[in-house]
Amino acid sequence: MTTKKMLGSQVKRLLSGVSDHGRQHLLEVETDLVQTAFLLGEAVEKLGSSFFALHNAVSAQQREVDILLAEFKDGDPKMARLRVLRDEIAQHTNEAVTGLQFQDLTSQLLARTVQRIIGLRNVLSELAVEGNELPVEGQEDEIVTMLNDINKNLNTQSSGLKDLLRKAVHQKDMDSGEIEMF
């Protein structure tokens, strides 16, 4: 085989290889991410159920304590201590409610990542399709021109994908967010 024939067919093979291997691995990544999102959803459901069950039990206990407290005089130190405990419970409840919102944020990030991976797989598919058009026995100039076109298409597709996937979640921690009234 001449060098010119080899170049064309080797480039075709390379593009096809990059496309096939890339898509294969990306499919695995997508599968894992979808599974992660599902597990997070399940976890927050269970956590939420447990949280509400605990809260209901504590509330019921509080009501019983209130009945017992009615027998104490106002200045009794036990009442003061119970009030402090009640405030602590309210604070921890608030923190739990804030923390349990993690799934909303993480599922948005995961969904965006999955969309990007699907987009990337499509880009790699296009690469294989365009690579197939390369002439096996073409002149070097012809191959270079076609590779330049493939590169341009890749840039366009990549930019298109970036525009589609605007980032909506910038939170780096689970501290409660700011409030602004207009």
């Binding site: 959803g41 927050v44 459901e45 939420g48 509400f52 809260h55 409840t93 608030n94 409610v97 804030t98 923390g99 349990l100 919102q101 993690f102 799934q103 909303d104 944020l105 599922s107 948005q108 909506a168 979640v169 910038h170 939170q171 689970m174 501290d175 409660s176 967010g177 700011e178 409030i179 602004e180 009234m181 207009f182």
Partner: protein, 121 residues
Amino acid sequence: MEKTILAVDDSGSLRQMLSFSLKAAGYQVIEAVDGQDGLDKARAQVVDLVLTDQNMPRMDGLSLIKALRAMPSYQKVPILMLTTESGDEMKSRGRAAGANGWLVKPFDPQKLTEVVKKVIG
């Protein structure tokens, strides 16, 4: 009489936390799963406050706000955005659409109910 809040968010867990927090503060809560569902429910019953997410399927938060403000019964009803978005451009768009306030997720129940109390009592 109890005030009613329409809570619009496509995240089930977020709606759960919102309902829990607002009901504990004495409010009635109607949940909607996206902007279109929110609009349908807002039409069925005029509420005292709308709390809406931005990024939702079928109809996003900004579109919901614009649709609500086009209804005479919702000209004066307070509408607050509750969203992951915190950029100035999005906030400007929210304000221009008719939102009265912007809350960034995750929310703290105590701070949320303080704001709601200030807005609707």
